[in-house]
Symmetry: C2
Subunit: 147 residues, 2 copies
């Protein structure tokens, strides 16, 4: 079984980062009891992918409670107009650290979090990918952490 302690191979990370360039909105899927709940989430599409994807979230939100109950999440990126699709299987955790929140903040987020990264009501979700797949004009990828 793939664990989240191993890293992606450097060449794999570069290949994933290339596909992820400028992809911002993804669909984040969590388990909601026996159902699978999906919603659009914004990451910072300008940051080079290093294996983790970070999202800001309201502490008092269904997705945070769902991740606390079951950390398995799925991420899906669709950019049909560019012929690029990326999916990730990931293990998520809630991170509530002021330094991380400030480091990860970008101003586009203010439309959803008007009080900014210092608000106590805001937390981070860190989604640590264990498997990344991509499809598109540049060929398909299927890469696993630690392989």
């Amino acid at each position: 079984m793939t664990t989240t302690t191993a890293a992606f191979a450097p060449d794999d990370l570069r290949a994933i980062a290339e596909r992820m360039r400028n992809l911002d909105i993804c669909m984040l899927t969590t388990r909601d009891g026996h159902a699978l709940a999906t919603r659009p989430m914004s990451n910072n599409g300008q940051v080079e992918f290093d294996g983790d994807t970070w999202f800001f979230a309201e502490r008092d939100s269904a997705k945070v409670r769902q991740i606390e109950a079951d950390p398995a999440v799925g991420l899906g990126y669709i950019a049909t107009e560019r012929g690029t699709w990326v999916s990730m299987e990931a293990q998520a955790e809630i991170v509530d650290e002021d330094g991380e929140k400030r480091d990860r903040w970008f101003e586009d987020l203010r439309r959803w979090f008007p009080d900014g990264p210092d608000a106590d009501t805001v937390v981070l979700i860190r989604a640590r990918a264990t498997r990344v797949r991509a499809w598109g004009a540049d060929g398909d990828l299927d890469l696993r952490r630690g392989s």
Copy 2:
């Protein structure tokens, strides 16, 4: 708990169909053991939404096996360039009926299924939505079957 026997209200179906217009590629999430697996899937974006979404799939595929093990799926549509995002919680089942396969076929599918709808290796996935959410410039929706 929402069951899949009740229908969406007619006004709700119209509102969903409006958001779904011309959305073709979605991310379909299934449970793969303890992980959540996501991959892009093509439906027929020209068909008016009636509560069910249909996909063609290889009978011998991971997604078919995963749905047979756990029918809860999530669907996510991203059309950032149009400011439209749609998600569905759904219960899926595998349908292997020649008439349905022919009725649901559209020629764009031939790039993935070169032998067409009559091939024994091809089945349908019917995803019956229990909850549909949409976000975007036209406002947000959160609609449930039977409510």
